[in-house]
Amino acid sequence: MTERARVVVRIALRNVRRQARRSLLTASAMVLGIALLMFVRALEAGGHVMYVESAVRMGTGHVSLEHPEYAATRDLVDRIPAEYLELATEAISAATTPDELRAVFPRVTVGGLVQSASSSIPASVSGVDPAREAPISFLRESIVEGRFLEPGDRLEAIVGVGVAERLRVEPGSRLVLMAEDIEGEIESQLVLVTGIFRTGIPEVDRGVVQLPLETAREWLALGEDATSLSAVLTSDRRTGEIARDVRARLEREGVEPGAVAVRPWWEAMPDLHAGLQADTVQTYIMLLILLAIVALAVVNSVLMAVLNRTREFGVLRSLGLNRRSVGGMVIVEGSVLALLSGIAGMGLGLAVAFGVFRDGVDISFALGDGELAFAGAIVDPVIQPVLQTGDAIAIFLIVVAIGVLASLYPAWHATRIEPAEAMKTDD
């Protein structure tokens, strides 16, 4: 650094300190703004993690494998053959480390009719493997009466609370499930209600029935085939990478993409993905407004500092400091203010998000009955803030950049000061 640059920086730093009250007020606005940005982003990230977690545990998984047409046709013709299921399971194991794979499970899902002694309703009927799904099943945690399916069960089934109410059944009641089998024949299956679940998602509670996978396969003459294979991971961080890896491995094994589609959750659940993106856009708009306020605070403070020191700038110019150095001095002042505020704001934001609200933020006061679902995912009224390091760094850099940018106008103004005129002013 040249001697000139050193003296310019020294004067700038001392000016920040000299105008302590103004600096502190500006810094306070910035610190609060940044802290709020950090907190809101941490809360939003926490909410999104929760939505995704609950949605993937409903059965889709972080990575979902289906026949490409199955989502549209819901026809058992569009299923995954047993040999592909085996290859896909191996591919998932190979693409993940044991630590990041929580569960891999096949399912058989059909649309059918559920009949009780008193009534019948349409429902989505899934054959699930209780042993493989128990560790991650969201329905298992949502049982309000009876129990979840267990290994060894044959004719047991669990139903949503809405299904139970509409069919007037309770644990121990009999139900008849009817659906087309693989040949297109309508087949019936008698089951006993063993548990009733309440998820809070209306379409799940009113229209989902689960029974053991093997019973479903026999009922629908599916052999060892399934309609889907899902992988639930410990973190969403590598979902896309793992999906690509599994897809590549299956292709190398000769499984054509036309036979099995490997999708990350955002492709398998586009509604949820779109909902989360819309939520993110809303948050960004709010963040932009906050950043604009922060920028105005800096412009105001630095411009006032310049206007109040018109004579001083005139003196500096008359002593031989060129316009560029005068402008640089003002930018240094704004940047230092932004930098210090950025650090303090980050600290406050982290303290609020992970200190004051370390046990989560309870938003139940804002949620009425029946509003606990979001695009097919469960909303836990207690949101745990999640720190996204990239976000934190981005917010910090953006705020510092704003400090520099917001100083540009006052700096330009300072460079326009004419020494002779400036020294006529009283300050």
Binding site: T2, E3, R4, R6, V7, I11, R14, N15, R18, R311, E312, V315, L316, R317, S318, L319, G320, L321, N322, R323, R324, E418, P419, A420, E421, M423
Partner: protein, 265 residues
């Protein structure tokens, strides 16, 4: 040494050179005007000023308040642009310089002393005085030694670390003078430098300036009403309503009666 009024007919180059190879005048102005406002409301703060001040002169610009002294000094220092006419400092035309070159000229060739001290409040007395030297890139030890030596001479010893707010008016003005003369610029422009000083402080300051003038041929141009300063000058240029009413050399110690006469007598 020479003085003229009116517009010379000779061409005016951006860089002056003399046929005999001697140094160009410290300051030359040619039909210099500074006008504020337009039409009937126009005010000519400086008009028709053509003067030449050679290197090493000790000149006072006198005249009543509002006669254009400060404006003329600002024009010479390149702090404001003339409405008409030209200014040369050390042979270079100020109006032809880029903004950056003008800043460099002020830094390297001109020292300013302002009536209102104009010290930087965030710097100590020592830092204020060494400011131009810092900008010039003079190393710390050299410039600090020079400041301390001069501070001792002008009675500021021991006050180096004080901020301007903790100094008296006289002390602040001495710091401002130290800032202007340190590094021995070719030209010092001083606007009422003794206005806030007592006689002994004025005497000490003028002593320093005279020493620089005699030993290093630094040119001094003072704007002042102070007879004490006028007495020590060797040339007095009296301005009235922006133009040169009288320009005369004198012996140091003398105070011509016309200097103090009211305008129009």
């Amino acid at each position: 040494m020479s003085s003229t009024s009116g517009s010379p007919s000779t061409p005016s180059p951006a860089v002056e050179a003399r046929g005999d190879g001697s140094a160009p005048p410290s300051v030359r102005t040619e039909d210099l005007w500074k006008t504020y406002g337009e039409g009937e409301t126009a005010v000519h703060a400086v008009q028709r000023v053509s003067i030449t001040i050679e290197r090493g002169e000790f000149v006072v610009l006198s005249g009543p308040s509002g006669s254009g002294k400060t404006t003329l000094v600002n024009l010479i220092g390149g702090l404001t642009d003339p409405s008409r006419g030209k200014v040369w400092v050390a042979g270079e035309e100020v109006g032809a310089m880029s903004e950056r070159a003008r800043a460099r000229m002020r830094l390297e060739h001109i020292g300013f002393v302002f009536q209102a001290f104009n010290l930087l409040p965030v710097l100590s007395a020592l830092e204020n005085a060494e400011f131009p030297l810092m900008l010039r890139g003079v190393d710390r030890d050299t410039r600090r030694a020079a400041v301390r030596e001069l501070f001792e001479e002008i009675g500021l010893g021991g006050l180096e670390d004080r901020r301007p707010g903790a100094l008296s008016g006289g002390q602040q003005q001495r710091v401002a003078v130290a800032r202007a003369v340190l590094g021995a610029p070719a030209l010092v422009l001083a606007d009422e430098p003794t206005a806030n000083l007592d006689t002994s402080a004025s005497d000490a300051l003028l002593g320093v300036m005279e020493l620089l003038n005699q030993e290093r041929h630094v040119t001094f141009i003072f704007c002042t009403h102070d007879p004490f300063v006028m007495r020590r000058a060797r040339r007095i240029i009296r301005l009235v309503d922006g133009h040169v009413e009288r320009d005369a050399e004198k012996e140091p110690g003398d105070l011509p009666s016309w200097v103090l006469e009211p305008v129009g007598t």
